[in-house]
């Protein structure tokens, strides 16, 4: 809301300050632990910095008492990539299904919502019990994968709803009028138009899996994923190593976010160029 002459009302400055504080609240603590991860070898868990070093990053790899960081990191990356691919395939398809009315749509919708808001630990407990009763061993690649999909698929579906809600169907109708088959229409019109949204679904699938803990905790089996390894560290590691692992895992998250956002941005720019 602003007045006709374009000047800002006093509330704007109030809200802007409020928003600035919120952003500081969101990022401040994270920035601090990245700084503290470069703590000198004699430094502790908080300020002051006793020199600057890579000591704690080195400890991450060299000290076995820290845990299996390298192994769990590899597992988490592989798992996140698989979850991202499955989430894109399954939830994009499901999103397309909801564009027409069909019997059972309410059931499918509520199943997804229930799966989304169910406390994660309960899902993990259920999966662990199911595997136990069936006599199957749990593992991060089987029960762990399934547990994470109960979280990422509903999320992917909701993102698809948001994307499809803004989707202009007249392009698809034009394709049909021009004689395109259903497959051609999907490949040449629908998917390219939805591509930014699909990248968004992949981004969420990857990062939600990479950081997931509640659902995975009881379903991951003998070998930990990275968040579970970090969780174990919080109870027995009281050194800046904890911050070093935080810095490393956040760099990975940021890398994935930047790749996804720049590719979405590149698609949008190409589109706006070809439209003019």
């Amino acid at each position: 809301m602003h007045s006709a002459d374009g000047s800002r009302p006093w509330t704007f400055y109030f809200f802007a300050a409020f928003f600035g504080l919120f952003v500081a609240f969101l990022y401040g603590p994270m920035v601090v632990i990245y700084v503290l991860s470069f703590q000198g070898p004699t430094g502790g868990m908080t300020f002051p910095l006793n020199g600057v070093s890579l000591h704690w990053f080195d400890a991450l790899i060299s000290q076995s008492r820290v845990g299996d960081i390298a192994g769990s990191f590899q597992r988490s990356i592989v798992l996140a990539a698989v979850v991202a691919v499955v989430t894109v395939l399954v939830s994009v398809l499901a999103g397309l299904a909801f564009r027409r009315p069909f019997r059972g749509s309410a059931f499918a919708f509520y199943l997804a919502i229930a799966s989304l808001i169910m406390p994660g630990l309960f899902v993990g407990l259920g999966i662990a019990l199911t595997f136990r009763l069936l006599g199957l061993p749990t593992g991060w690649y089987s029960s762990g994968l399934g547990a994470q999909l109960t979280w990422t698929l509903p999320f992917g579906l909701l993102i698809m709803f948001a994307v499809l809600g803004r989707f202009n169907r007249s392009y698809e109708e034009a394709a049909t009028d021009l004689g395109a088959t259903n497959w051609q229409k999907l490949k040449e019109v629908t998917i390219p138009m939805l591509l930014p949204g699909i990248i968004g679904v992949a981004l969420f699938g990857f990062t939600l899996s990479y950081d997931e803990i509640a659902r995975t905790a009881l379903a991951a089996g003998a070998k930990n994923t990275l968040p579970l390894e970090i969780w174990a560290m919080t109870t027995n590691v009281t050194s800046p190593t904890l911050y070093a692992v935080g810095a490393v895992t956040t760099i990975v998250s940021f890398f994935v976010i930047v790749v996804a956002l720049t590719s979405i941005g590149a698609i949008q720019r190409r589109r706006s160029r070809s439209n003019t």
Partner: protein, 302 residues
């Protein structure tokens, strides 16, 4: 062909066309339903069944007994755990709602330019895509006994002793929850507010409504879907949490789910399952209560 015949032939053709559309939808939605049935529906049924099982020190024994529920309802600690979980849920809900509403309001009604709006929105979203545990432990250097807050307070001469209640306390738990979950309130409310026709606000102002009256009588009611969805997210996340409450309270506070996690660690699956069943019933009632107030599905379909 007369027009009536034409219409009749269309009617005859219509049902099959609709059927193929429905069949296509079923095929498209089938993979999602299959995965969720296998890894969510079935496991939840198993939890329900196991909640009636018996157990020994190492094993679960198929049975149909109500002991797990009787134990749960007769233990005094149950009520305390629920009181603790509900207390956290209400406090965090109130704070995140206040923050989320104001942030969404700022982004929708005060920020000019779509690009700038998207940029600020992403600024709020990015931390959500990073590790929750790391964001949680990033409060340790702030809140600790020799942490940044205490250093600053003592440096400014506000206190002479470090404040002990900051870390490993209910206060720390609430701070971490608000830090982790406010976004779940911002995004749905932002979505609702973005759909409000700006001319409504101008009309209200032209009719002489003040700033606050416009917010309370126009923006607030029209954002109710977002508020309801955000509330469902925040309440279920807090009620279902065990990791934050364990870490940030330093083991001093417990929640229903953290107690359940202890039972699982002790291999007491049937009592844990019974506890989960009761918790799901209570959370479902809370969600149903919110949905009674706001018909979310009708408004999502708009």
């Amino acid at each position: 062909m007369t027009s009536i015949e034409h219409a009749a032939s269309l009617l005859e053709e219509a049902p099959p066309a609709e059927n193929t559309g429905e069949r296509a939808s079923w095929l498209q939605v089938a993979p999602m339903v299959a995965v969720l049935a296998l890894f969510f529906g079935l496991p939840m049924l198993v939890v329900l069944v196991v909640s009636f099982f018996d157990f020994s020190r190492t094993d679960i024994i198929p049975a149909f007994i109500f002991d797990n529920y009787v134990d749960l309802f007769t233990r005094e600690v149950t009520l305390r755990l629920y009181a603790s979980s509900i207390k956290f849920a209400l406090i965090v809900w109130a704070i995140t709602l206040l923050l989320g509403f104001n942030i969404a309001y700022f982004l929708v009604f005060h920020v000019r330019g779509l690009l700038f709006q998207i940029g600020l929105f992403l600024l709020c979203t990015v931390p959500f895509l990073t590790s929750n545990i790391i964001r949680m432990i990033s409060w340790i250097p702030f809140l600790g006994r020799n942490g940044i807050f205490n250093q600053a307070l003592q440096g400014a001469g506000v206190t002479s002793q470090p404040l002990e209640f900051l870390l490993f306390s209910d206060f720390a738990v609430v701070v971490a929850y608000v830090h982790l979950f406010t976004l779940f309130m911002v995004v749905p409310i932002f979505n609702s507010m973005a759909r409000i026709d700006k001319s409504l606000l101008e009309a209200a102002r032209d009719a002489g409504a003040g700033r606050f009256r416009t917010v309370f009588e126009i923006v607030l009611p029209l954002s109710r879907t977002g508020i309801a969805l955000g509330s469902i997210f925040v309440i279920t996340l807090v009620m279902g949490d065990s990791f934050v409450v364990r870490t940030m309270s330093g083991g001093q506070s417990a929640s229903v789910v953290s107690a359940l996690q202890n039972e699982v660690a002790a291999l007491q699956y049937p009592p844990a399952a019974a506890s989960a069943v009761i918790m799901v019933i209570i959370v479902t009632l809370m969600v149903a209560g919110i949905l009674r107030l706001v018909d979310v599905r009708k408004e999502l379909a708009r």
